[in-house]
């Protein structure tokens, strides 16, 4: 039996009646012939030992010809490893036991059968990758491109850009007439209009009036409550762009809407796929520095990435909240494990080091990071980049479009999801099904449409928050809930988090999905989820 993965080593030891320290397992895995080492360790272990310690293994290894651990093998244990060592057995078992991961279970057998054993040069770390086959491009990065100076005109510019980009997507469907021109038309005529939603209100009799605005002015559009399209009104957010078709009232003062259109993702959208069998892990919300950061789960994840099972994972995308940050909420210092913000990033960097060095990593900031909160958020500044230099991770702004071997992944931290969930009816968007809220954003082709509410906007020359190109994968985080699904063939993934339930979350009834890693096959856009908690 090949014993190259820590999980299998653990299982083999358990089978022989032993628990084991994490470091011991690492040492066994790193030896020339883990199978033989394991057998010798068991043999050499004292009769009364219940637990194989690192010392036991070292003794055995020292008595045998020394073997250099390969470069990709896990490096020495960090402090957090040591702390987590005591529960090493249980957690490894959980990570490899399908039944423990419940709904998100995966099929080990299927993975094995899909892998390509012929090419596998079995190393002790289990990974065998060829970086030359990869490609990774980033678009929409505004880091260092922030030109806004907080003037009124900057705001006007950004909304005009939004209108221009989104209205373009709708022009094919309606024959837009400027609001001002419509106000000069006579009653009873048909009219079509594309505009940003300026206001939505209900009339005394329960109908809806939507004020639509274009660059010439606003025009009120009435949606009768008994029409089918009235259902759309519930989904509207301020400042998104829609098109309407209808007939002007007798006095030409209002437009009776017959149909309504959203920029949307075309139903015919055919996603791009990679040419080879390669995977990306999509995670977010690591929150290093928080007392609730799950170092154990993270380490299991990192260890697992070193295994053969994970060798097709060549990309790691992190959608914000690397650290818990400082001053995010009042008296946060009382709940911090690491109080110094720079030390938080250093600790994060240490944790990042434990994933395989051959991974291509892309990171965007989130609302806990030491970057401006207003969106778009530029990537980390040089000081923080220097701290997070591990594995040459790519840092880009929030949101950004990351293209992995042809597959377009829109990364966005997801602050606007709170607002979408708050504003829309529960069946359209909820914390339990965060991907549904993401569908709404895809439909609106904008990651954070509503201005003036929860989401903060930094005015720039361009509206970086518009989804100009349809992504193949839409990746967000922020709400600490795991959810995924497809909307018009776009895979929407909200990754969970690596932070256990906080007191605040407890008080508002949020049960986070912590310690999961969604894995996407870039050649099929199929997704599996691994549980490490």
């Amino acid at each position: 039996m090949p014993l190259e993965t820590p999980a299998r080593i653990v299982r083999a030891l358990v089978g022989r009646g032993y628990n084991a320290e994490r470091e011991a397992v690492t040492l066994i895995a790193g030896s020339d012939d883990p199978g033989r080492t394991l057998a010798r360790v068991v043999e050499a272990a004292p009769d009364d030992a219940l637990r194989i310690t690192a010392d036991h293994v070292r003794e055995v290894l020292a008595s045998a010809p020394a073997a250099d651990p390969p470069g990709t093998a896990p490096t020495g244990p960090t402090a957090a490893d040591a702390a987590a060592a005591s529960d090493a057995v249980a957690s490894h078992t959980a990570a490899s036991d399908p039944s423990a991961s419940g709904a998100t279970s995966h099929d080990n057998a299927a993975h094995t059968s899909q892998s390509t054993p012929a090419e596998a040069k079995v190393g002790s770390g289990g990974r065998n990758v060829d970086p030359a086959l990869r490609s990774l491009e980033i678009a929409n990065d505004m880091t260092g491109q922030s030109t806004g100076t907080g003037e009124y005109d900057d705001f006007v510019k950004v909304f005009r850009d939004r209108y221009e980009k989104l209205s373009k997507m709708l022009r094919g469907r309606v024959n837009h007439r400027p609001a001002k021109a419509i106000s000069n038309m006579s009653g009873g005529e048909d009219a079509e209009l594309i505009g940003l939603v300026d206001d939505v209100r209900s009339t005394k009799s329960g109908h809806w009036i939507i004020d639509l605005e274009d660059t010439t002015g606003t025009f009120p559009c009435l949606v009768m409550k008994d029409k089918d399209i009235a259902g759309y009104v519930d989904e509207l957010l301020m400042d998104e762009c829609i098109a309407v078709q209808g007939t002007l009232s007798g006095d030409a003062g209002i437009l009776f809407v017959d149909s309504m259109h959203f920029p949307d993702v075309p139903r015919s959208h055919r996603p791009n796929t990679a040419d080879r069998d390669v995977q990306a892990a999509l995670i977010s919300d690591v929150h290093v520095g928080s007392q609730e950061f799950m170092a154990g789960a993270w380490n299991r994840f990192a260890d697992w990435l070193h295994t053969e099972e994970a060798e097709r994972i060549e990309y790691l995308l992190i959608a914000g909240d690397m650290v818990e940050g400082v001053g995010v909420y009042p008296n946060q210092d009382e709940e911090l494990d690491v109080i110094d913000i720079y030390e938080q990033y250093e600790a994060f960097s240490e944790h990042l080091k434990s994933v395989p060095g051959d991974l291509d990593i892309v990171m965007i900031p989130g609302n806990h990071d030491a970057v401006r909160l207003a969106e778009p958020q530029p990537g980390f500044d040089d000081e923080l980049r220097d701290i997070m230099s591990a594995h040459d991770a790519r840092i880009t702004s929030n949101p950004s479009m990351v293209t992995l071997e042809g597959v377009n992944v829109l990364m966005y931290h997801g602050v606007s999801l709170d607002e979408v969930i708050a504003e829309l009816p529960a069946d359209k968007a909820s914390y339990d099904e965060p991907h549904k809220a993401m569908y709404q954003l895809l439909k609106k082709r904008h990651v954070a449409p509503q201005f003036g509410g929860h989401t903060r906007l930094a005015p720039e020359e361009l509206d970086y928050l518009v989804m100009e190109d349809v992504p193949d994968i839409f990746h967000t985080g922020h709400v600490h809930k795991l959810g995924w699904g497809k909307y018009h063939n776009v895979l929407a993934v909200n990754s969970g988090c690596w932070q256990a339930q906080t007191d605040f979350q407890k008080s508002v009834n949020i049960d986070p999905d912590a310690g999961y890693a969604p894995i996407v096959d870039l050649d099929t856009l199929n997704m599996t989820v691994r549980k490490f908690s």
Binding site: V326, R372, D418
Partner: protein
């Protein structure tokens, strides 16, 4: 009631009647919305309740019940009356419950506050999931003013009514229960609750509550967990409900339980579990602490508990004195510019002294006027301070019969300053404030706050009783002109202490508890080794110390010690007056010190450290030398200042006219025509769309003249002079309607509410000119006449413009209800000297004062007189404003109503004896007061009962006065805004005389004795429960309902001038926020009791950071506004320009307002060595600001760019 009081009230009522008659005559002219005066006079509480509620028959029934039972019981008894239909005219079951609940709240709040009308929106009967019915009470924000007990009882009353009406209990759904839990937390976070129930408490209450508590959304923040519930209309926090649940039910559970036990129909067995804290699954450690119920500081106290328990456990070996535990709550939310005077219980802070000065009690703090100056004038009379104990806040009053501050001057003098003038002179030379002096708190304050007595300072009034308890002939000493008992000579003090068994006199008792035993030992050595030089030969003695070198004091010469840091600090902490030079410490009065140190008069040391008992050496871990002193000294030495009280500045004192913003002269609408100034003159000249001058279109109520049938908006028919009435006509069907009982106008046919208001085109120019002419004024008689944009009242009834013209002429402005108001901080005073009120004994005799407090005939201006219960003292500003108002009222009577002038004020003294209304925010009842004098302090001094009748205490609260005639003439309910809270702060009823039993009972907890007994002081050392001492120290409650209820308010401490100290707090005289903050930090460095780093940290944490974060957030989601027409836009228009007028639109939050504190905050953080956490938060914010406001491509290029 005694003859004297009867005369007093008759006098007030006579003047009131006089005014009333004239006002009725004025009203009868028909120019006002109603033809009679709209503020009814209430004789008693029952009247007020009925008037506020507008339910007939309540007063009579209340009076019947009042004699028989308590007010709470009466409220419950009335439920039966409502249910049976004996009281109130309600057909529906909902109405009956509603009437009962409102009446209960009104009764329990003495018919003064607006809670019963504004705090309860409605009662509904809804259906449970099992098909049974339940009662839903819908609360609104103003229920807050009812207070916890009334809130809780309102629920009980609703439940009682429910059971009598045979309606089932409310069965909460699980998600509703959880919603309550989340919502109470949200509200607590957003607005703050006095008491924050634990989750399990909220859950437990929600599960057991037999009626549903519901209410209006009061905040913007929404719950995130339990949203969109079927039976809860809103996702926001329902403030009224949260208050009732937390501050009502959770906090007052023991009180409600008392009443549920009396009722057979109502059974709330679960209250017992709530009280015991035996609820929920976990250990219940937190909830248990709250059984006392009333104490909001519980959390802080609880933290301290382990120590106290530890003491109890080892009671056989006490290792330290009893001390109250430091509480830090008062430091929360510190803001820039409002200094901290003392950290919690920190040495050098205020020393607790028990007693009540004549201007003291009822949530006030007595501070020496010299201290007020020494803290850089930050404290003035009336300045609010947030305090560590016994309450939460208090208004500062000057008391100069207590000790002032001790300071070290730049020239090396360490001394106490007891003279305010001297303090003012020396202010700039103060290097360190070693001690803030004494802090006078009256016993009643501890009763009111249910705070265990804190160990008392050793002071004269205690010592003299100790002394009297010995064999000494104290009376003989009192009579001996050569002996000063309060400030005895060294010789006298030492001999009394040694000959009789009395403790050493407080004047020579130093603060031994503030130095360690080790230091005590070192000091004994130093003093023994020191040198005594003859006073005459002491070249180092300065003029400032001369006083202490007077022959009888400095006979022994001056003691000169080596100046070492240890000894210097010891003397400073002991508060021994001395002088410091580079090499020496010179102590002029040293003998009591030497004797206390266990030295002989020849300064020979007779003991070694090892001689001390273990107890003395280990007392308070060796940090407190008082036991050591008592072992080595030849007399007993008491702890001089065992309790220090930390505090900080809260609000500054206030004495300002109340102007709406912008100020309003007349409640006449002019739309946008008058520009942003709402200038009626401009509007009258304005050419509108029609092109005609002064043509404006505004919403006004339509009124009809019953005599000639003409329509118009005026109250007096311009055609025939008849008095018009609002005209209600349904827009749709044209039916003419009348308001129903509740004032609602409803069209049955069209199924909607009908209003009298409509858009009317009026010729403002003509109206304005006519008004000027009618009162015979020209436009030049005033600067500007301001109207309002639109009216907010239900019927949109405008005021006659003439009233505005006269107001503008006299520079007074109108509040939303038509009255002219002046705001002042409330302070209590029970005895005054005519002199200090800038009036004479003659004035006082004219007012009916006959004797001084000792019963001597009133002859001189400086005699102390007990203040009558409705007499008030106006600040100078208020007096000026009242004179202007009186002139306005006189002109109004003469030029508008065509009647006689009423006041004829020529000089300020003419105001004496005139009547005013006192009225507090959130209440709906005015109290009649009489002006008796004036003060330079920026406060309104009045009898504590007067403030209590308005339901105010004096902890820095402020409220207003109105001139009587102005209220009678100009107030109208017709002007009140038609929205939640509109009836608040309006005189819906007035009380002409104060019944002490019918006021806020907080005032009854004021002690009214001349002296506290010796046993009381001793009890404080044992930290006894104040309730056990109510019999020994009489509080006002004792005399309720007796002949003495209005008089006999004695005090323990006199003060020279009730307006001593700075006239205004430095907070008000310093200019910018930066100046204030600099002064705050400067003071923090000077004060020994203050940790300046902590202050800086808190200012950043609670003021700068929230400001920066809040503004940055506001910036990135801001509204915009048209600079030309003022139109607001939620988002920037795509066109860039104003959609209304094409004008320029701009931001409402600019870069400047976002980062105004950034540099200062960073600088303060550096300078005061704040934590890295704080510095990093600032760093992150600074980067965010740069990122938002700086162009990356246009940054300042460094030299590197050119290399």
């Amino acid at each position: 009631m005694r003859e004297e009081e009867t005369r007093y009230f008759r006098r007030i009522e006579a003047r009131l009647d006089e005014a009333f008659d004239l006002a009725e005559a004025a009203k009868a002219t028909g120019y006002d919305p109603k033809t009679e005066v709209e503020i009814p006079v209430a004789k008693d509480m029952a009247d007020r309740v009925e008037n506020i509620l507008g339910i007939d028959g309540v007063a009579e029934r209340v009076r019947e019940l009042e004699g028989e039972m308590s007010r709470e019981e009466a409220a419950l008894e009335l439920v039966t009356d409502f249910v049976d239909g004996n009281v109130g005219d309600y057909d529906s079951r909902e109405g009956k419950v509603e009437g009962a609940v409102r009446t209960a709240v009104a009764l329990l709040t003495e018919g003064v506050v607006a809670a019963p009308i504004e705090g309860i929106d409605r009662v509904e009967i809804l259906e449970n999931d099992d098909g049974t019915e339940f009662v839903n009470v819908y609360y609104a924000g103003p229920i807050r003013s009812a207070g916890g007990t009334a809130q809780a009882l309102s629920v009980l009353v609703a439940d009682y009514a429910r059971s009598l009406l045979d309606i089932d209990e409310y069965k909460a759904r699980t998600d509703e229960v959880e919603r309550y839990v989340e919502e109470v937390n949200l509200y607590d976070k957003e607005t703050g609750l006095q008491y924050s129930p634990k989750d399990k408490e909220s859950r437990f209450i929600a599960e057991n509550m037999p009626i549903m508590l519901d209410g209006e959304a009061t905040g913007d923040e929404e719950v995130s967990g339990y949203r969109d519930l079927e039976r809860v209309d809103t996702n926001s926090a329902r403030g009224g409900m949260c208050l009732v649940m937390a501050e009502g039910i959770a906090l007052k559970a023991p009180k409600i339980q008392r009443y549920t036990r009396q009722l057979d129909e109502v059974d709330w067995p679960w209250l017992q579990d709530l009280i015991d804290g035996t609820i929920g699954k976990d250990d219940g450690k937190a909830a248990k602490a709250d059984d006392a119920g009333d104490d909001a500081d519980e959390a802080d106290d609880a933290e301290a508990d382990p120590d106290a328990d530890a003491d109890d456990a080892e009671s056989d070996a006490p290792d330290g004195p009893n001390r109250v535990e430091p509480a830090t709550k008062f430091l929360r939310d510190l803001i820039a510019g409002r200094p901290v005077f003392g950290h919690p219980s920190a040495p050098g802070g205020f020393r607790l002294r028990y007693g009540r000065a004549r201007n003291h009690g009822f949530a006030t703090a007595g501070v020496h006027p010299a201290t007020m100056h020494i803290v850089d004038d930050f404290i003035a009379t009336g300045t609010q301070i947030k305090t560590e104990r016994p309450g939460k806040a208090g208004g500062v009053v000057p008391v100069d019969s207590i000790e002032g501050p001790t300071v070290r001057l730049a020239n090396g003098d360490v001394r106490r300053i007891d003279d305010p003038e001297e303090a003012e002179e020396l202010q700039n030379g103060v290097e360190k404030i070693l001690d803030l002096g004494e802090y006078l708190v009256n016993f009643g304050e501890f009763v009111e706050n249910n705070h265990p007595l804190a160990p008392a300072s050793y002071v004269f009034e205690w010592w003299i009783q100790d002394f009297e308890a010995t064999e000494a002939n104290v009376q003989a000493l009192r009579d001996d002109p050569a002996v000063d008992l309060e400030e005895p000579s060294v010789e006298d003090a030492l001999s009394w202490a040694t000959e009789f068994d009395a403790p050493l006199h407080p004047v020579y008792t130093y603060l031994w508890h503030d130095i360690s035993v080790e230091r005590f030992d070192a000091l004994a050595d130093a003093v023994a080794a020191g040198e005594v030089v003859a006073a005459e030969a002491d070249g180092g003695t300065t003029a400032a110390l001369e006083h202490d070198n007077e022959p009888e004091r400095g006979l022994e010469g001056t003691l000169v010690l080596d100046n070492t840091p240890e000894i210097r600090e010891a003397l400073e902490h002991l508060l021994v007056a001395h002088r410091q030079t580079d090499e020496t410490l010179r102590v002029p009065v040293w003998r009591p010190l030497a004797r206390s140190l266990g030295l002989t008069d020849d300064r020979e040391r007779t003991w070694e450290l090892d001689d001390l008992s273990e107890r003395a050496r280990e007392w308070d871990d060796g940090d407190n030398a008082v036991e050591a002193v008592n072992e080595v000294a030849p007399f007993t030495v008491r702890e001089r200042a065992p309790t220090r009280i930390g505090n900080r500045m809260g609000r500054p004192e206030k004495s300002e006219r109340r102007d709406l913003s912008p100020a309003v002269h007349t409640l006449f609408p002019i739309g946008e025509a008058g520009g942003s100034q709402r200038d009626v003159g401009d509007a009258a000249r304005h050419r509108g769309e029609s092109g005609k001058r002064g043509q404006i279109s505004v919403r006004l109520g339509r009124r009809k003249c019953p005599d000639c049938g003409a329509f118009g908006f005026k109250s007096k028919c311009p055609d025939c002079g008849g008095h018009t009435e609002p005209h209600y006509e349904c827009d749709d069907c044209g039916t003419v309607l009348e308001p129903d009982e509740s004032g609602r106008v409803y069209c049955e046919r069209c199924d909607w509410d009908v209003e009298s208001a409509e858009w009317q085109d009026i010729d403002l120019n003509t109206e304005y000119r006519d008004a000027l002419e009618r009162v015979g004024e020209r436009e030049s008689s005033f600067q500007i006449l301001k109207g309002v944009k639109g009216l907010t009242s239900a019927n949109k009834t405008p005021e006659p413009i003439e009233k505005g013209v006269l107001r503008a002429k006299h520079d007074v402005s109108s509040f939303k209800d038509g009255t002219v108001r002046y705001d002042m901080t409330d302070l209590p005073v029970t005895a005054v000297r005519p002199e200090e009120l800038d009036v004479t004994a003659d004035h006082f005799r004219e007012l009916g004062y006959e004797t001084d407090i000792d019963g001597e005939p009133l002859r001189f201006d400086d005699q102390l007189v007990e203040l009558k219960v409705q007499d008030i003292v106006l600040s100078n500003g208020a007096a000026r404003h009242m004179m202007q108002t009186a002139d306005f009222v006189d002109d109004l009577l003469e030029q508008f109503y065509g009647l006689d002038r009423f006041y004829e004020i020529e000089e300020r003294d003419d105001l004496i004896g005139e009547l005013v209304f006192g009225m507090a925010p959130h209440t709906s009842a005015a109290v009649v007061g009489r002006v008796v004098g004036f003060t330079t302090a920026a406060v309104g001094y009045a009898h504590p009962y007067f403030h209590a009748a308005k339901r105010r205490n004096c902890d820095g609260d402020e409220d207003c006065v109105m001139l009587l005639m102005d209220g009678l003439l100009n107030f109208s309910k017709e002007y009140l805004p038609d929205k939640r809270g509109g009836q608040m702060d309006a005189p819906l009823v007035m009380s002409s005389r104060i019944d002490p039993s019918e006021i806020d009972d907080e005032a009854h907890n004021m002690d009214i004795v001349r002296q506290y007994p010796r046993e009381f002081y001793e009890a404080t050392l044992r930290m006894e429960d104040p309730d056990d001492w109510e019999d020994e120290v009489t509080i006002a409650e004792e005399y309720l309902g007796t002949d003495r209820e209005y008089t006999g308010f004695d005090h323990t401490h006199d003060t020279t001038d009730i307006a001593a100290g700075p006239d205004l707090s430095a907070y008000k005289t310093l200019g910018s926020m930066m100046d204030k903050m600099d002064a705050q930090l400067f003071l923090a460095r000077k004060l020994r009791a203050v940790d300046e780093t902590d202050v800086a940290e808190r200012v950043i944490e609670y003021h700068f950071l929230p400001d920066l974060i809040g503004n940055l957030r506001a910036f990135s989601r801001q509204e915009t506004r048209c600079l030309d027409c003022g139109e607001k836009y939620r988002r920037m228009p795509l066109s860039g320009d104003c959609r209304e007028c094409g004008g320029r639109v701009n931001l409402t939050v600019h870069q400047g307002s976002v980062n105004k504190y950034m540099d200062t905050a960073i600088q303060v953080a550096e300078e005061f060595d704040c934590r890295d956490y704080t510095k990093q938060r600032l760093e992150v914010l600074e980067k965010s600001l740069e990122s938002v406001f700086e162009n990356d491509k246009n940054k300042q290029s460094g030299i590197a760019d050119f290399m």
